[in-house]
């Protein structure tokens, strides 16, 4: 450990003799201009360029394409599904609009939250033919972003029978598609189902019976 006096001498580095007693506007503004170019323009440009070059797909919004190459959405953005031939995601306070992302911001004590959840729970119970106490909690809670692309594996399994019936395929074929849509299966996070990927694989595999059946459940919101 150096002695205190040593530290103090080496400290100066800053000249000790002439102490600066004033701060000028011109240094402040010139410094600001230099830093704005370095930090506000050069840094984002450099990291964005290098990032886009190293990871072009992720940098561009993780877009998904169908076999014909058409962009069908982003892996990271939930879409709205109303057709009974599709798996349905979590409630969204933003209508899955990525440009106006939002949570519900309803407090647990707010009657509006209870009303919304009650309506959602009854819709789901009717659609899937189950009682409300069988519904996983993620299906009646709005996410923080309003575009949460995931549901729990239980929430997906709850919907298998209905999807299979509407698409007129056996349940095992639908269940087989869950596994490939599973994400976060590694050491971190808990496994979740990506709804858009799951539905896209349904459409791809069983295109004849897409969600455009002629008896859509008009109770679905």
């Amino acid at each position: 450990m150096k002695t205190v006096e040593n530290v103090a001498q080496e400290t100066l580095h800053v000249k000790d003799e002439a102490l600066q007693t004033r701060a000028s506007w011109s240094s402040a503004l010139r410094f600001l201009a230099v830093m704005a170019v370095l930090l506000g323009l050069a840094y984002p440009l450099a990291t964005t360029t290098v990032g886009g070059w190293l990871f072009p797909e992720q940098a561009g919004g993780s877009l998904m394409r169908d076999p014909s190459g058409r962009v069908i959405g982003s892996r990271l953005v939930a879409q709205t599904f109303v057709g009974d031939g599709y798996f349905i995601g979590r409630p969204s306070a933003a209508g899955n609009d990525a440009a106006s992302v939002s949570g519900s911001n309803l407090a647990p004590g707010n009657a509006a939250l209870r009303e919304r959840a009650e309506a959602d729970a009854q819709t789901i119970a009717r659609r899937e033919g189950v009682s409300v106490d069988q519904i996983p909690v993620d299906l009646i809670t709005a996410s923080g972003s309003g575009i949460d692309p995931h549901i729990s594996p239980e929430a997906a399994r709850l919907q298998v029978a209905r999807v299979a019936q509407v698409r007129q395929i056996d349940e095992a074929s639908v269940t087989a598609l869950l596994e490939p849509a599973l994400e976060n299966t590694g050491w971190l996070g808990a496994p979740v189902i990506n709804v858009l990927r799951l539905n896209a694989s349904l459409d791809e595999r069983y295109p004849a019976a897409s969600g455009e059946d002629d008896s859509p459940s008009n109770t679905v919101e």
Partner: protein, 563 residues
């Protein structure tokens, strides 16, 4: 659980070496890295016309801060208002109204990043980078600079008596940016891009929904998001690209991204303990400070994690029993949302990965208390500065208790110092409670989205967040009104500059005083007993100030819901 272990381990493992590196990089001793970084630093000084070796008086240092920040506010304000006609605006976003633009400029210039707008829809790429990212670097760097100035003046043993001035602001600032923040941000930005955070200057892709029955076109806003999210997390900034911040999958796509972003929240505030220990040589003192902070942090995090594991009272018997997932992302679940929530309010960051408005009452209350205390690691630089403010008060109280003339590190604490220290501490309840009361009393001003007790909590949270320079919110509040924008500007400015500059002034004043040799009766400031006293002072001051309003808000809310 694995995620939690990874996050804590990452902070612990990186915090120590980073702190020691920062101590060398920002301390005033010459090091070999000076020549290396001179490649970038020297041109900055030259272009700005600054003699970085000239030490400033504390007054000049403070004045330089205020002048630079006036410039920052003006730059950001103008860019926000005129972004519609400026370049880098592929989505054709219009200029911001003057009051929202002013609030946003002040909010980012005070390291708060409170947002009364939604970034993806209301800011152009130029605003998000030139205005916001610039401020997201320079404001934490300012906190760092002031902390280092205080450390070398007040904390270094007898250093102040040999040193004139507190250092050079522009040198401290430049070093903080070039040697610490910028390299870390580049690494984190690339990690996040790898995980799926957009990095692009393209306009938003327009996508037809897969379900043909849904006749909507989905717009997916992109931008140089990763570069901003990196410094947002590292710099205790918190202002995200998208409105709901890191709950948005584009801003925080995977569990690994969440580990990186959560660890980045606390990394520098924790590392600073080691940096200041190195710079000041007061290792026992910093150990004590760290212990108090860690204790506060663990209590807070435990309460929030427990609270969010409980079911949401509104959803009882509407589904399988489950934790409170309202406002939370499934890929994180409640534990990681609670951990983030408690850390972001402890460190004055203010980014979120879940909506705090929908937290259970006890969890929401803990977040408020974290922001009242605001020194549990705290914002970059200002966390420790705030802790020193409490330490000064504790030294005053403690000296009187043992019957000594009040002193701090051997320097007498006299009327002038104590008057300003008290003002800096008391300003917090005065401003927060005063503005909250005014808002509630004015018809039509509140704009809260929830009825009853939680409605009051929303108002309280907004001003607390502004004063604490946190930036998170109970976001249901309709806060983009002239009243909210201007009232928050007042809280932001006082909350930033008073608690930061008063300790700098005290350091400057004390430096000019004679040191009394330590004797038998001297209060040992690095003793566990004194740290206990300081912790007690922190708890008592905050409970005295805020317990009544907590009873009216979250405590009443919890009581009604039965837990």
């Amino acid at each position: 659980m694995n995620d939690m272990i990874a996050i804590y381990a990452l902070v612990a493992l990186l915090g120590v070496p980073l702190g020691l590196y920062m101590g060398r990089a920002l301390g005033s001793r010459r090091t070999r890295m000076d020549a290396l970084f001179a490649v970038i630093e020297a041109p900055i000084y030259r272009l700005a016309g600054i003699d970085s070796h000239q030490s400033m008086t504390w007054q000049a240092y403070a004045l330089a801060i205020l002048k630079l920040h006036a410039g920052l506010i003006l730059l950001a304000w103008l860019v926000f208002m005129f972004q519609g006609v400026l370049p880098l605006n592929p989505d054709g976003i219009a200029g911001m109204p003057w009051d929202t633009a002013l609030h946003t400029a002040v909010s980012f210039a005070t390291n708060t990043n409170q947002q009364h707008y939604s970034g993806q829809a209301q800011l152009s790429h130029l605003s998000q980078t030139l205005a916001i990212v610039t401020l997201q670097f320079l404001t934490p760097a300012t906190g760092l600079a002031v902390l280092v100035a205080i450390a070398r003046t007040l904390l270094v043993k007898r250093g102040a008596s040999v040193l004139k001035g507190v250092g050079n602001y522009y040198q401290d600032l430049t070093r903080s940016v070039v040697r610490v923040l910028l390299p870390l941000a580049v690494v984190v930005a690339l990690l996040l891009t790898w995980q799926g955070v957009p990095a692009s200057y393209q306009a938003a892709p327009q996508v037809e929904m897969l379900d043909a029955q849904v006749e909507e076109v989905q717009s997916i806003p992109l931008g140089p998001v990763a570069s901003m999210v990196a410094i947002k997390q590292l710099g205790t900034n918190g202002g995200g690209w998208y409105g709901p911040n890191s709950s948005v999958p584009l801003e925080n796509p995977t569990p690994l991204a969440n580990v990186v972003e959560t660890a980045s929240l606390t990394l520098i505030p924790v590392a600073l303990l080691f940096a200041i220990a190195l710079i000041s040589g007061r290792r026992r003192l910093m150990l004590g400070v760290g212990a108090v902070m860690l204790a506060f942090s663990l209590v807070s995090t435990s309460v929030v994690v427990y609270s969010e594991r409980m079911p949401n009272a509104a959803l009882i018997e509407l589904s399988q029993p489950g934790a409170n997932l309202e406002g939370k992302e499934l890929r994180f679940g409640t534990d990681l949302s609670a951990l983030w929530g408690s850390w972001t309010t402890q460190t004055s960051n203010g980014s979120v990965n879940a909506m705090h408005d929908s937290f259970n009452p006890m969890g929401g209350m803990m977040l408020l208390m974290d922001m009242f205390v605001n020194v549990t690691f705290g914002g970059i630089g200002v966390g420790l500065i705030g802790f020193f403010l409490y330490l000064m008060l504790a030294a005053f109280v403690g000296s009187l208790m043992v019957g000594r003339a009040p002193e701090l590190f051997g320097k007498p604490l006299e009327t002038r110092e104590m008057r300003w220290i008290s003002l800096a501490i008391l300003a917090q309840p005065l401003v927060i409670l005063g503005l909250s009361a005014l808002t509630v009393a004015m018809p039509g001003a509140v704009q809260n989205s929830n009825p009853g007790f939680h409605g009051l909590s929303q108002v309280l949270y907004e001003f607390t967040s502004a004063f604490a320079n946190n930036g998170s919110g109970f976001e249901g509040l309709g806060d983009d009104t002239p009243w909210w924008n201007l009232a928050c500007v007042v809280a932001l400015l006082i909350g930033r500059f008073l608690p930061m500059l008063v300790p700098l002034a005290v350091a400057g004043w004390l430096a000019g005083k004679r040191t009394a040799p330590a004797g038998r009766g001297t209060l040992p400031m690095d003793s566990p007993a004194f740290m206990g006293l300081t912790a007690g002072v922190i708890v008592i001051v905050n409970l005295l100030g805020f317990l009544p309003v907590l009873v009216l808000g979250p405590i009443a809310e919890a009581a009604v819901q039965g837990f």
